[in-house]
């Protein structure tokens, strides 16, 4: 057990180091922070406008929730584009460089490698989100009446869970090809399909129900609204575990089928 843990940690540290040394990751972080910053300011301005309108009419609205929901929605949408770029090189690069041969001939299991990699890329993503949480917290702390930190935390936890699911599936796709670009595109397409699967299925009949439940957007929206639904947690966890499992299997299969 200790050996497995130390293996996972070794992979985790190596991957994390790669992300923090990579110019591409830095560029992604820059774009992510810039876009989210600009959009947060915009959402905030709109909110103040709305607030003055409602004030003039003498009505009251829950402004902080609206801001949080808008902003997390925006972050989720930006992440759709960012996450495939983070997960694309997880395995594709190892395959291209031949380092997969090193990992596959070391006393370390496939799933330990996959788990280490997933945790590393997720950590990097979390490090992208944390600064945003800092300025959000400043804004929300000035609201009156005070805004519930639970809703704030649940919303962001939802964002992280969503990312874990997407990254895990992206990792699986990355393990299927030598080309990072192809991995990124395929991951993006898959994520988009899962994002909008309820819209695509329509809302009729059993099939529509099933596809509706698989939708990332639907369950993400639940969490963003502060609703902790077990089915949402299970869905994101299932996608994550599925991605890990498929990755381990595909790496194993890669060794058997290669010619």
């Amino acid at each position: 057990m200790r050996v497995i843990f130390s293996n996972i940690l070794a992979i985790y540290r190596k991957e994390l180091q790669t992300y923090f040394a990579s110019p591409l990751a830095a560029a992604i972080a820059g774009i992510f922070w810039f876009l989210s910053g600009v959009l947060f300011v915009r959402i905030l301005f709109n909110a103040t406008l709305t607030a003055t309108q409602f004030d003039a009419q003498g009505q009251q609205i829950d402004l902080p929730s609206a801001v949080l929901q808008d902003f997390l929605g925006v972050l989720g949408f930006i992440s759709l584009f960012i996450l495939p770029m983070l997960s694309m090189s997880l395995y594709a690069e190892e395959r291209k460089r031949g380092t997969l041969e090193l990992l596959a001939t070391s006393p370390i299991t496939n799933w330990a490698v996959a788990l280490g990699k997933l945790l590393a890329v997720l950590t990097f993503y979390i490090s992208l989100v944390l600064p945003l949480m800092a300025y959000e917290a400043i804004v929300f702390s000035s609201t009156n009446p005070p805004f519930s930190p639970a809703v704030f935390l649940i919303g962001h936890a939802g964002l992280i869970l969503l990312s874990a699911a997407i990254l895990s599936l992206g990792m699986f796709i990355s393990s299927l090809t030598d080309s990072t670009i192809l991995a990124a595109i395929l991951t993006f397409v898959l994520t988009l399909l899962l994002w909008l699967t309820d819209a695509l299925a329509g809302n009729s009949g059993l099939l529509g129900d099933i596809f509706g439940q698989l939708s990332l957007l639907k369950h993400f929206t639940n969490l963003v609204q502060g609703v902790v639904d077990t089915s949402s947690l299970i869905l994101f966890a299932s996608y994550t575990v599925l991605g890990l499992f498929l990755t381990a299997q595909s790496v194993e299969a890669f060794r058997f089928q290669r010619s």
Binding site: V3, S6, N7, A10, I11, R13, K14, Q17, T18, A21, S22, R97, G98, T99, L100, E101, L102, L103, A104, T105, S106, P107, I108, R255, F256, R258, S259
Partner: protein, 345 residues
């Protein structure tokens, strides 16, 4: 230490290796020699546990490579054809990473990494990013990576490919130093490399092992060693008799004629260590036989290699063409002989 029995592997319908059997004793260096595409890399990959074999067994330190993969992985160091390196890591960082995933305990890691750096002459490059290293240094990092956990068995796939002559010598010395405490298998398509570094050589061609022996014995057993090629005019049996009576003559074999003349050609093979040039010439001239050409030949490992790999091809032709079986066997014998034309004296 390493036992391989009846190993076969095919990719789809192409047979990569067939019925490969060999063993390596502890502390020995075995050279796996063969032309490109002979199945060297496939065999190495099976031994390392990277690829499964279709048939047969391969054991490292008593563990079957596929059934007991984890036990084997702990006991081998493996340098694939392309060194598996992470360009954005420093040499030292990379070796620490490898030591960690190979299960070197935290207390031993620094010492092991230092020793690997030292053995591979990388100490001064320890803080350099792998991306910035030259090909030769990268290859050395690849070897360091294979020995960092001090495994009993080391598998090196073409360790000197792409290096300059000075680096080749360094790497060869490094490999020689590994022998004794480690069992080493290295693959190469360069003959002198195998003969200089290895205790034993397994020659592989078209997926089959065609010979296994020490370099000296290979030359000794599979060729005639050294001798003379003669072109003479006279009666064949007289010439045979004349030369047969000389001491240290091992064999006298007729050679095919290169052009349309009435001359005869013979290959006189001598016992090792004997050089009878003077005596042969004197005997022939003394017997009144016309001597038109006398050329010394020395069979090298290169000739044996060529001989073995050419023979295989001819035999294969014989397999497909059963009508002309006798002819083609004779042909193959000829091709063997014509292939070991040595240096002229």
């Amino acid at each position: 230490m390493i036992e391989v029995e009846h190993l076969s592997k095919s990719y789809g319908s192409t047979r990569a290796i067939e019925d490969v059997t060999f063993s390596v004793e502890p502390g020995e260096i075995l050279g796996f020699l063969g032309p490109n595409g002979a199945g060297k890399t496939t065999t190495m990959r099976i031994l390392s546990g990277y690829l499964p074999a279709n048939e047969g067994t391969a054991k490292v330190a008593g563990f079957e490579v596929h059934e007991n993969s984890m036990a084997v992985r702990k006991r081998i160091g493996y340098l694939p054809e392309t060194p598996p390196l992470y360009p954005d890591m420093t040499v030292e960082g990379f070796l620490h990473f490898v030591a960690r995933i190979k299960g070197v305990s935290a207390g031993d890691r620094i010492r092991q990494v230092d020793s690997a750096l030292q053995r591979c002459n990388l100490t001064e490059k320890r803080k350099v990013l792998i991306r910035k290293l030259s090909k030769g240094f990268r290859q050395r990092v690849g070897i360091a990576q294979a020995i960092v956990h001090d495994p009993p068995a080391i598998i090196l796939d073409e360790p000197t490919v792409g290096l300059d002559p000075r680096q080749i010598i360094e790497v060869r010395n490094l490999i020689k130093n590994l022998a004794g405490s480690h069992t080493v298998i290295l693959s190469t398509h360069i003959l002198p490399e195998a003969s200089m570094t290895c205790n034993r050589i397994a020659i592989i061609n078209k997926g089959r092992i065609v010979a296994t022996n020490s370099p000296e014995n290979l030359v000794e057993q599979l060729s005639g060693g050294a001798g003379y090629d003669l072109e003479v005019a006279g009666d064949a049996s007289t010439i045979q008799q004349t030369l047969q009576s000389l001491p240290h003559v091992k064999e006298i074999a007729p050679l095919p004629l290169e052009s349309e003349t009435s001359h005869l050609r013979f290959r006189v093979t001598l016992q090792p260590g004997a050089d009878l040039g003077q005596e042969i010439a004197a005997r022939i001239v003394g017997a009144g036989i016309g001597l038109y050409e006398m050329r010394r030949f020395q069979v090298s490992l290169e000739d044996v290699f060529l001989q073995l790999t050419t023979e295989e091809r001819s035999l294969e032709a014989a397999d497909t063409d059963t009508d002309a079986e006798v002819d083609s066997t004779a042909e193959s014998a000829n091709s063997v002989e014509s292939s070991d034309e040595g240096e002229t004296a």
